[in-house]
């Protein structure tokens, strides 16, 4: 029988089991990036080292709050917490406060975050192209901002 159109069952699960990260590490998925954290705090939720915040979502802690470029959220008391003698940034509480949704597989220590609503407003309200960063087939990093000054058509397709 001829193979059906757009049928690649052999590609469903072609990969051998490999560790997602070294034992004791945690993985965060955000904006198409995979970020590995070597240290996280104990207990529920995702507690990260404050210095790891920028590598996870670009935010930096400043006197005025947690800031990404011009976007600042005033610090809440429950974002920075003490546990095990260390200070942690509670990333899941931060996400809940700013309306960022996520799906977690805590057993495997993986958190997958959707985009922050505040970052989407520039598109949804102002009609501006969203920021993205993705690698093309030649290994170049393609960013929305790279095409300022040119007209761009971004078109999705698929083999199916």
């Amino acid at each position: 029988m001829a193979k059906a159109f757009g049928a690649f069952p052999e590609l469903r699960h072609p990969f051998e089991p490999t560790p997602i990260h070294p034992a004791g590490h945690t993985t965060v998925l955000y904006q198409g990036r995979t970020i590995q954290l070597s240290a996280t705090g104990p207990g529920d939720g995702l507690l990260i080292r404050p210095e790891d915040l920028a590598s996870v979502n670009g935010f930096v802690l400043k006197p005025e709050g947690a800031c990404f470029q011009d976007l600042c959220f005033p610090l809440k008391d429950n974002w920075l917490i003490e546990r095990g003698g260390k200070t942690w940034f509670d990333l899941t509480t931060f996400a809940n406060t700013v309306g960022q949704h996520f799906i977690a597989d805590e057993a495997s220590r993986v958190w997958s975050f959707a985009e922050l609503p505040a970052k989407q407003d520039n598109m949804l309200v102002n009609g501006m192209a969203p920021d993205f960063e993705i690698v093309d087939r030649t290994g170049n990093v393609i960013r929305t901002a790279d095409y300022r000054g040119k007209k761009a058509l971004i078109v999705t397709w698929s083999s199916w």
């Binding site: 059906a4 690649f8 997958s112 598109m123 949804l124 501006m128 690698v135 058509l153 999705t156």
Partner: protein
């Protein structure tokens, strides 16, 4: 893809960039040869995680956005075909695509904001789909599924892919992407049934193009 290469060559404007994004969990193995056959000179991306659809709130392929020199979206989320195609044969065959999109695109590249095909901010923002909690969680779940797949954890991959489809039933992308990785394929009975249900519910499989034929 060869048609887009031809369009790109016809436009031949150094201030125009064409970025073609394959939304394909099958990755290079399936999308790569199709790209290569087109001998493309435009930017090619194989987007295993469907990131680009996620950032523009697209739910189907092909979909597109026109972005002007200031980073402003001036058209978005239409069935972006560069010509008319036929799917299937006999009684179940149907035509899809159009022959007005490419001329409109060329008009915009030539005339910029003077083109009649440029939409204002209100039209553009009205055409961007509004994704709520479930759709955003679906995107996060889909990527989680892909991560587990990449590490050989098929059971968890299936769990999160199914979660994505359940949370975001409007996503033709998640529905058909799943079918491509089955024996049935993306154009079989399940696809035909879903497409029929979609249309019977009065939903637009693609938004009708708001482009007059000239």
């Amino acid at each position: 893809m060869p048609v887009w290469q031809r369009v790109y060559e016809e436009i031949n404007d150094p201030n125009f960039v064409l970025i073609c994004v394959a939304e394909d969990t099958g990755g290079e193995a399936v999308a790569g040869p199709i790209f290569d056959a087109a001998k493309p000179t435009y930017i090619q991306i194989v987007d295993v995680d469907h990131l680009i659809s996620s950032v523009f709130n697209f739910v189907n392929v092909p979909s597109a956005a026109w972005i002007d020199e200031e980073g402003r979206i001036v058209r978005i989320d239409e069935g972006t075909y560069s010509k008319v195609h036929q799917f299937g044969e006999g009684d179940t065959a149907f035509l899809f695509g159009n022959d007005v999109y490419t001329p409109a695109l060329k008009d915009w590249v030539a005339k910029g904001r003077e083109s009649v095909h440029v939409q204002n901010r209100q039209s553009v923002t009205g055409n961007i789909r509004k994704h709520g909690v479930n759709e955003q969680k679906a995107d996060a779940a889909f990527r989680l599924g892909n991560l587990f797949r990449a590490h050989g954890e098929g059971e968890k991959a299936e769990h999160y892919w199914e979660l994505a489809r359940t949370l975001h039933p409007e996503s033709i992308n998640y529905f058909r992407q799943n079918l491509t990785l089955t024996e049935e394929g993306s154009g079989g009975q399940s696809f035909m049934k879903k497409r029929m249900e979609y249309m019977e519910q009065g939903k637009e499989y693609y938004r009708p193009l708001d482009i007059a034929k000239t």
